[in-house]
């Protein structure tokens, strides 16, 4: 059917119906596509020919009306819940009565684990390429935070483990808890808001994101792009304790430190007060010892100095005495008396020491000097 305008002189004017029909036909030429979104406002009524829902883009909040034949929907046996991510296959359609754009779906598929994993893998690669997970971005945790921010769901176990371990290790700790929605629709926005709240707290020096185990889908908000970016951009260091060991939500990679459990996170964010105290006491002992050593060494040096001072005249005397003794010994060595003491005698004639027998004649007087005393004698015989 041709869509004919009304003519007002030169002006072609379309009725609303014919405009809508024209656009609808134009849209009808677009190809079939797959559209991904979160299910909201799902309405199914036994009396209706179609099932209605709205798909929402979780990143931007943009929405799209989707219709699917009730019989087709029922055959799929999806039992969809609000907030679930689906792929709808169909084409653009204009609801002519209201000029509303929508998607006429032929089929709808729940985004399965495979789809989620693929999306997650792609996001992981993209963020890794941006350097969001790089080791050099990781910050050191404060050794003794003024206050510890705890972001948690209504998960009594995770929160209890975390807080009680903190209290045991470091009784003087201050913990600021922000409980928030951590799964399902709106969780990413709630997590980001909570993170911002804790980050803005004046004394919070470190934030622990604690979430116990859950299904893959339950943990998805912790791999949400905006959440991961918020964790990476957080003004204070973040410890991520989300899910169990085998789960690696992307926020674990963006956090400064990853903890396997809330208890492990607690041991990371506060030191052991007992150990700290022991360390302090040891330092104090060193402090005392250093000053004691200092004073003792000074005292020792003083006593050595004063000893040297007082000892010096005696030392001089002894040294002189030793020198004199030495000279005396040398003197003894050359003294003829020492030779006489060994039994030798000196013979003198006319006061001169006699060394040659031919220089004297029988009958002449000689003097014989012994070690002790001397003899006067007359020569009987000469044997030259």
């Amino acid at each position: 059917m041709k869509i004919a305008p009304l003519l007002y002189g030169d002006r072609k004017v379309y009725t609303v119906s014919s405009f809508n029909r024209g656009v609808a036909r134009y849209l009808g030429r677009l190809p079939d596509v797959w559209v991904e979104g979160e299910v909201t406002e799902l309405r199914r009524n036994q009396a209706w020919a179609n099932v209605f829902c709205t798909l929402k883009d979780p990143r931007t909040g943009a929405t799209l009306k989707v219709t699917i034949a009730r019989t087709a929907y029922d055959r799929l046996d999806l039992s969809l819940e609000e907030g679930e991510t689906v792929h709808a296959h169909g084409r653009a359609e204009l609801y002519e009565a209201r000029g509303e754009l929508g998607l006429r779906a032929i089929t709808i598929e729940r985004l399965g684990l495979g789809g989620h994993l693929l999306a997650l893998e792609q996001l992981k690669r993209k963020l890794a390429a941006e350097g969001l997970f790089a080791p050099e971005r990781k910050r050191r945790l404060p050794r003794v935070p003024r206050a510890i921010g705890v972001l948690t769901g209504a998960d009594a176990a995770a929160r209890g483990d975390l807080v009680s371990t903190i209290g045991t290790r470091f009784p003087a700790a201050r913990v600021v808890v922000c409980e928030t929605r951590v799964q399902g629709q709106g969780a990413p926005a709630a997590i980001i808001a909570a993170l911002r709240g804790l980050e803005a707290h004046a004394e919070v020096d470190v934030i622990v994101v604690a979430r116990g185990g859950g299904s893959f889908e339950d943990l998805l908000p912790f791999s949400n792009e905006a959440v991961v970016r918020a964790v990476a951009a957080c003004a204070v260091p973040v410890v991520s304790a989300v899910g169990h060991e085998q789960d690696t939500p992307l926020c674990d990679l963006a956090a400064d430190v990853r903890a396997a459990t809330p208890t492990a996170a607690a041991t990371l964010v506060v030191p052991d007060a007992g150990e700290l105290r022991a360390g302090l006491d040891a330092t104090r002992k060193r402090l005392e010892a250093s000053v004691r050593d200092r004073l003792e060494r000074r005292e020792q040096r003083l006593s050595v100095l004063s000893g040297r001072l007082r000892g010096s005249p005696r030392l001089l005397l002894e040294r002189r005495r030793a020198a004199v003794d030495h000279v005396g010994a040398r003197l003894q060595g050359v003294s003829p008396l020492a030779t006489l003491a060994r039994g030798y005698a000196i013979v003198r004639a006319s006061g001169e020491a006699l060394r040659d027998a031919s220089l004297i004649s029988p009958g002449e007087r000689i003097e014989i000097e012994l070690a002790s005393g001397s003899l006067g004698a007359r020569v009987d015989e000469v044997r030259p």
Partner: protein, 66 residues
């Protein structure tokens, strides 16, 4: 000293001890340093024994924010 964090206090205490242990500080200064060390030690211990674990709740304002 109250504005200093525990870590700052502890680091200063370690510095004081290290300087004294090096032994190149004049004795009069050493006594003053020792006093400062004692003060730092007491401040650290006071921080450790300050109080019981405090747990506060941050308002849940953010929950529904879009």
């Amino acid at each position: 000293m109250s504005e200093q964090s525990f870590e700052e206090l502890q680091r200063e205490l370690e510095d004081v001890v290290a300087r004294l242990e090096r032994g190149d500080v004049p004795v009069d200064d050493a006594i003053a340093l020792f006093r400062r060390g004692e003060e730092l030690y007491r401040a650290c211990v006071a921080r450790l024994e300050a109080a019981e674990l405090r747990v506060e709740e941050l308002s849940r304002g953010g929950n529904e924010t879009q």
